[in-house]
Assembly symmetry: C2
């Protein structure tokens, strides 16, 4: 895991730019509303932390801009951070990314580079960014990005002194690794639970297989469809106490429930931890992280009023 000192330093760098997100109570849990962050997702925490540190260490490189690869939320965060720093930004994205995510990148002045999923994964696996002039920020495996996400864990320790359990949606694994680093570094007895959809249970399968697996995503949690990464495998092995899998129909029902009970707009990935609450034993003080809210309005409408 990432050291608690590194998490604290990263969170401190990001702090002026991000929301100390509120806890919204629902039956049996508190929701950590990261969907209220600028760009509608937790990702700004890690990208601010990493970009600020990079500027301190090698300022000239950052001046040429930032580049990343993303299912959509890291893309928006990268563009938003670049705008704040006054530098350009390009993002390699799935051509199937939801339109709010592509439009979000453009809104913050970033340039989306749309590719089919296999080309995106190849671009990432072949480290194609090494040929580009901009500073590359890895969307989930950059230790500084992970440390920045850890700010959520630090806030939880302050906001919920009697915290016993936290449920976190997992895609690439950066969010939960950051939260686990913050929490386990201080209060290792707090249970950290990773949640994925049965439409893309990558990490459960990977831990069953003991190594790399590849799955075709069939989930509305598009934000969780990152590929296997051996560095993340090691971090998740250390930091995650338990895995829960949410069935897609349950996930689809959770989104209107969150709108109704919590007044929060959640995307598929954002609703995963809340959707898994029914699987945990009642009693312990529990937080579910609502990671993001960048959902297609039409999909949200359909889920709200299915007939």
């Amino acid at each position: 895991m990432i050291s608690i000192e590194r998490v604290r330093a990263a969170a401190e760098r990001a702090r002026p730019y991000v929301l100390r997100s509120p806890l919204v109570p629902v039956e049996g849990a508190l929701l950590k509303a990261e969907c209220l962050q600028p760009t509608g997702c937790f990702k700004v925490r890690g990208f601010f932390a990493a970009a600020m540190q990079a500027r301190e260490v090698f300022g000239d490189r950052v001046a040429k801009g930032l580049i990343t690869v993303s299912a959509g939320n890291a893309a928006q965060a990268c563009a938003y951070v670049a705008r704040e720093l006054g530098v350009p930004c390009r993002v390699v994205m799935y051509e199937t990314a939801p339109s709010p995510k592509i439009e979000g990148v453009k809104r913050w002045g970033g340039q989306p580079l749309l590719m089919p999923r296999d080309k995106v994964l190849e671009w990432l696996a072949s480290e194609a960014w090494r040929r580009e002039p901009e500073l590359f920020l890895h969307p989930f495996a950059d230790p500084e990005v992970i440390a920045g996400h850890g700010g959520i864990g630090l806030e939880l320790l302050e906001q919920v002194p009697d915290l016993e359990r936290v449920l976190v949606p997992v895609g690439g694994g950066g969010l939960i690794s950051g939260i686990a680093s913050a929490i386990k570094g201080t209060r290792p007895e707090i249970e950290v639970i990773g949640v994925q959809s049965d439409g893309y249970p990558l990490w459960q399968k990977a831990f069953e297989a003991g190594g790399p697996v590849s799955i075709k995503p069939e989930t509305i949690a598009d934000g969780t469809t990152a590929p296997f990464d051996p560095r993340m495998f090691e971090l998740l092995k250390e930091g995650v106490d338990r895995w829960l899998i949410v069935a897609e129909p349950r996930l689809k029902a959770a989104i209107p429930e969150l709108a109704s009970a919590g007044k929060l707009v959640a995307e598929g990935a954002g609703a995963l931890a809340y959707a898994a609450l029914e699987q945990v034993e009642p009693g312990p003080k529990t937080v579910a992280v609502v990671s993001g809210g960048n959902i297609e309005p039409r999909l949200l409408a359909t889920l709200l009023s299915p007939d």
Copy 2:
């Protein structure tokens, strides 16, 4: 207006039970997300303040329960507060109230008494509550309820030290009177702007007429359809610097915009202040209060995906 000392005392009584609501940034303003309060609306602030004070002053009366009259949000707040105090609750409501509001009252153990709108207004005007055993809390004109809502103003002064302007949706007038009392009592130069829909512009018409008016509501902002009240007329005259009217089509567009840009679920009344932002001069540091989020899921779905 209500004295700043009374606002401070009321807000302090309510504080342990309510959310210090976050500010969510959108283009040109910050949104004070009161829709994230328990019961999905700011009303818990005033009802906790008033009920706690009443219990201190005449405990026996509160033990018989609470009763109020409400378009829906005060109803839920009253039921929620009664449950926290362990006492019964009944609420006189419009029989046309949106189902989430009626269901909300039941969810917190309250008993809705559904009546046609004219009967509700008659019940209120004739002070029919005097014949009931429970303690009556007036949904908007009770000075202690208003003082409790003032907690929003106190929080804004702390959260936004350079605040210059606040836009607030207006129904009965309790919310804006509380906020104005808190703000004008400390920083009278901050502009307090009241917002209503052109489907129920009660206070604009009342100030034009110089006294009581009655209008048939034709608005999705059902939470603003309270009747004229002479006490509120005086408070609003003192506390509100300017009135803005939002056209219904603009209000309907504002709800999906809030979901997309702010990841917040707002009801009609809740979206009014945000919808009015396009009418104010850009520049001054501005907050728009998102007062509540209890909207019918089907209406929200229709507004998100109109065709």
